[in-house]
């Protein structure tokens, strides 16, 4: 455990942060610009994952296991969300025979 943690600390913390911010932003951009719901779901997963990465890094740097525990929680929740999300996509496909997000615009004003 000690070694892993010190191995992680070989790379400066800033790099982790930049990486996860980059990942987060990629996910963000994906959610913003893609219209396919499945890809959007994946992008949200990506955002979650960037947070997990960040947490792990912080956890290692702070030598505090809580961050890693948190990562597990995130993963569980993300799984649950994806399960719900995918079932919604299925329902959507059934109802309107498409997974284009922009078709969902009947509720407005």
């Amino acid at each position: 455990m000690k070694e892993i943690s010190s191995a992680i600390q070989l790379i400066p913390l800033e790099h982790y942060i930049f990486l996860s911010v980059a990942l987060f932003c990629i996910g963000l951009m994906g959610v913003l610009f893609r219209r396919n719901t499945i890809i959007m779901l994946m992008c949200i997963e990506l955002m979650f994952n960037s947070v997990t990465l960040l947490c792990t890094a912080f956890s290692a740097y702070h030598s505090d296991p809580a961050g890693q525990v948190f990562v597990f929680f995130i993963m569980i929740v993300a799984a649950a969300e994806v399960a719900v999300g995918l079932s919604m996509v299925v329902m959507m496909k059934r109802n309107i025979d498409s997974v284009d997000i922009n078709l969902l615009n009947r509720l407005k004003w």
Binding site: I17, G27, L54
Partner: protein, 457 residues
């Protein structure tokens, strides 16, 4: 803690009961379970306890909010008896999902650790995503759930990112520790911490539909099945604000100046958008959605005023708001049924002729939302203004008062429809239980406006 456990178990039991295909026992079972929870919650009043390495702290604050939410949920279930009679499938799931969401709400009122907050929010949200899409074949329900889900998880991502950043800065998830950590900066927080806190706040603000993160709520409220909308507008909002307040009071107060200003801007925007959005609304559900946003603005005012009474006012406000909103949704369902599924405000026309008593109580409930005296809504708003004015926020108070005025306008717009005669004469069928409940709620709203309490929390 036993309340939380029982609630979770209750949800599972209900799922099993669903297998018996006997709808009639679902609601009584759920309500009985909730009553037990209510009783257990009340028993813990005054005996605070901590669990899971102090990640959950059950104190009077959480008990009070839990009780309030249980009562509202029972109310919704009581109304649900009639509502779900027409539905053939998956009724048990509906009940149990709501109860699961309630369990999440309990977490949101008793966390002292960001992880628990996150879990609470998610346990609350995921059942709601499903509930919003409860009408599987309905395009609108589908759209509502998808919008809710998409925006919700998006917000969650930011929320998580915020937690990670704060964790990175402070090396802890415990709010009290975060508080001491923040205190050492004397208000000049490092950017990373600041942004992290902002993201956390935004994540919670999203749940209570504070502008500019409110966009989901009108659409979702409109599209979701009405009973679910009622649940979202009341229990979820109560939970959200409880979490918001707990987050602030446990971890963030005194707020760093930039964050505080940001929150004030949000409050102002919420008041503005909520009220202006409702002003020209023709769909009643959307009207209530915007009104919910507007009320979020008022509650924000109370939360941000940082007064000894803030928590009590918050409890009072959310409770009486819920108490008025739930029956209004039910009345809406009844009226909607009578007018073949229309949702415009015009469907209320002639209510006064058809069901005078229901009309009177509709008026009382709307008046409570509008904040007209001798209804609880007035006292609630009054207390909010007492807080904000005595903390010296005069300009925003005046602004809020003007917005309240707009609020009165659109609520009375509905009142006017209720008392307008119409040529159409589709009978409105109100079951005895519903009528009784509506009347009880109406009377309660007035009674709470006269016999005002404050809970020492």
């Amino acid at each position: 803690m036993s309340a939380l456990i029982i609630t979770t178990v209750l949800g599972i039991i209900l799922l099993y009961l669903g297998l018996t295909k006997n709808k009639a026992i679902l609601a009584p079972a759920a309500i009985t379970g909730l009553l037990i929870t209510l009783f257990l919650s009340l028993k813990t009043w005054g005996h605070g306890s901590k669990y899971f390495h102090d990640m959950i702290i059950i104190d009077n604050f959480s008990v009070a909010f839990n009780v309030s939410m249980i009562i509202i949920t029972i109310l919704i279930f009581l109304f649900g008896i009639n509502y779900y009679k027409r539905m053939e499938l998956h009724v048990a799931e509906q009940y149990s999902l709501m109860i699961f969401a309630l369990a999440g709400a309990f977490l949101m009122t008793s966390f002292s650790n960001l992880i628990m907050l996150f879990l609470g929010i998610e346990i609350l949200s995921i059942p709601l995503y499903i509930l919003a899409g409860g009408k599987k074949t309905s395009y609108r329900s589908n759209e509502a759930s998808f919008k809710y889900f998409m925006l919700g998880s998006f917000a969650t991502a930011f929320f998580l990112f915020g937690i990670a950043l704060v964790y990175g800065a402070s090396a802890t998830f415990y709010l009290p520790e975060i508080k001491t950590y923040i205190a050492q900066f004397n208000g000049n927080l490092p950017p990373m911490l600041m942004v992290g806190l902002l993201f956390i706040l935004i994540g919670v603000a999203f749940k209570v539909s504070v502008a500019p993160f409110h966009f989901w709520s009108p659409d979702v409220y409109e599209g979701a099945p009405t009973l679910v909308t009622a649940f979202m507008a009341t229990v979820v909002k109560t939970a959200g604000f409880a979490a918001f307040y707990r987050l602030l009071s446990m971890g963030l107060l005194p707020l760093p100046a930039p964050l505080k200003k940001a929150l004030w801007v949000m409050t102002g925007l919420t008041l503005l958008i909520g009220n202006l959005g409702a002003l020209r609304q023709t769909n009643f559900k959307r009207l209530l959605a915007y009104s919910a946003i507007a009320h979020s603005g008022f509650i924000m005012l109370a939360v941000l005023s940082q007064h000894d009474l803030s928590a009590s006012v918050l409890l009072y406000y959310t409770f009486v708001y819920s108490l008025a909103t739930v029956p209004l949704f039910i009345i809406f369902i009844l009226v909607k049924r009578a007018s073949s599924g229309l949702e415009t405000l015009h469907i209320f026309q002639g209510l006064y002729k058809k069901k005078p008593w229901i009309a009177v109580f509709t008026t009382i409930l709307l008046m409570s939302l509008a904040g007209i005296p001798l209804t609880a809504g007035f006292i609630a708003k009054y207390q909010v203004f007492v807080l904000s004015i005595s903390q010296g926020y005069l300009a925003i108070s005046i602004f809020a008062i003007l917005m309240a005025l707009i609020g009165i306008y659109y609520y009375f717009f509905v009142v006017r429809e209720v008392f307008t005669e119409t040529a159409e004469s589709n009978p409105i069928i109100v079951s005895k239980l519903n009528a009784a409940l509506i009347i009880v709620c109406g009377v309660a709203v007035v009674a709470l406006g006269i016999f005002v309490w404050n809970v020492p929390i």
